[in-house]
Symmetry: C2
Subunit: 204 residues, 2 copies
C-alpha cells in the first residue's frame, strides 16, 4: 500500500497562486501550473471529454489514475470541484473528504463515492487504505491537506510535475511548521516538452 | 554570450541552511546540498586533489567549468572562499567580486584573477562579459548575488542540481521582491543517482 501525492508545481516552488478562495481555488497567476493538463487525452477522458493529446504526459496521468484505489481530499477542494465534477466524477474510486461537518456519503456514477470524515487526517487515511484494495491512496489536495500529510510523514511517494514557469508568489508546497529535514530517494524523472515529472520516495 | 547560474538546491527549494555567516556560509543543515560534489573527479581536480569519481555528475561539473570564461561573485562568497582557494583557485578565469570596498586586483596562479567591483552588479557583469571571450559568464553566488541578478533579468540559463533531500528551513533561491512571474524553457534534464540536474533558459 503506497500513499501518493501528485502536484503540479512551478520551478519556484508554488502549487497555487495568490488569493486562494473557493471561487478561485488555483489563486491568481496559477494558470501555468495547470494548462499542460487540459489537453491530455487521459485527463479529458476522465472528465467525459473526447480527443486530446496521446503523449507521454497523458500516459503519466493515466498511470496515476489507474494506480489510485482511493482518494483523500480537503473540504475546499471538494467544495470547489463538486459542481464541475457532476454526476460522474473523474475519480472512479472512493473519495474521503476531510471536513468538520458530518454529511451522508454520496454515491456517484462510475465508482466514485464521497465519504465525509470528521475525525481527522489519520482516520481518513485509514479508511482510504481499507477502501483502496491493492492500489494506492492518493492525497489529492488541496495544498494544505497535502502539507498536513507531508508534515505527519504519511506520504510515501511524491510526484512533482515541474512546469517551466516562475509564479513569483503564491502558496508553496514546502512551507510551514510541518516540513523538516528529510532524506528522499529519487524514483524516476520524465522530461517532456510540457513539464519535468519528478517522482520521489520518502525514506522512513 | 550566455550568463549562467548553477546552484545546488534541495527538493524543497533551499540553496543554503539557516544562520548563514562568513564562518558558516552554507548555513546549518545544508550538508545534503553539497556532499554529492566532493567526490567528483572534475571538482577535485580543480581543487588540486587527485582521485574521485568519473561519472555523469563529474562530466556536468567539468562541462560547467570549461564553459565558464568569467565569474561574478558576492563579497561574502569571496571572503569565505579566499583562504580555502589558496594560491591556485579553482576558477582559472577572471573573477569579479561585488564589494563596497575598493581593493587592488589580485593575480593568482592558473589564470584566476580577482577584480573588486564597487559600482554595482551591472558594472560587474559588463566587465565579466568583456573578459569572458566566447565563453559564458557564471554568476557563482552566493544566494543573494544570484537573486539580485535573477531579479534584474540578467541570467540567461539557470542550472539547478536538485538533491534528494528536504532541508525544512534555510535560504530559498526563489524568494524576495526580485522574483516575479516569468516563463522559462526547459533546456535539459539529467538524472543521476546523486541528483537531478535541471537546466532552464529564461524567455526574454
Amino acid at each position: 500500500m503506497t500513499v501518493t501525492a501528485d502536484m503540479a508545481i512551478s520551478l519556484d516552488g508554488f502549487i497555487a497562486g495568490t488569493g486562494v478562495t473557493v471561487d478561485n481555488p488555483g489563486g491568481h497567476g496559477a494558470e501555468p501550473l495547470f494548462e499542460w493538463i487540459h489537453n491530455l487525452a487521459s485527463w479529458r477522458e476522465r472528465q467525459g471529454l473526447t480527443g486530446g493529446a496521446e503523449n507521454r504526459d497523458s500516459e503519466l496521468m493515466r498511470e496515476w489514475f489507474d494506480a489510485t484505489g482511493a482518494v483523500v481530499m480537503g473540504r475546499m477542494m471538494y467544495d470547489t470541484g463538486e459542481e464541475f465534477w457532476g454526476d460522474n466524477p473523474p475519480f472512479r474510486a472512493p473519495v474521503f473528504v476531510l471536513t468538520h461537518h458530518p454529511r451522508p456519503t454520496l454515491v456517484k456514477q462510475g465508482g466514485t463515492t464521497f465519504t465525509f470524515v470528521t475525525d481527522g487526517i489519520h482516520s481518513a487515511l485509514h479508511r482510504a487504505k481499507a477502501a483502496a484494495g491493492q492500489r494506492n491512496v492518493d492525497i489529492a489536495g488541496g495544498a494544505s491537506t497535502v502539507q498536513q500529510y507531508l508534515g505527519e510523514g504519511l506520504i510515501d511517494e511524491l510526484q512533482l510535475h515541474v512546469v517551466p514557469a516562475l509564479l513569483g508568489a503564491g502558496l508553496r508546497l514546502f512551507e510551514g511548521p510541518g516540513t523538516g529535514p528529510q532524506r528522499v530517494e529519487q524514483v524516476r524523472v520524465v522530461e517532456t516538452p510540457l513539464a519535468t515529472h519528478l517522482k520521489y520516495r520518502f525514506v522512513k
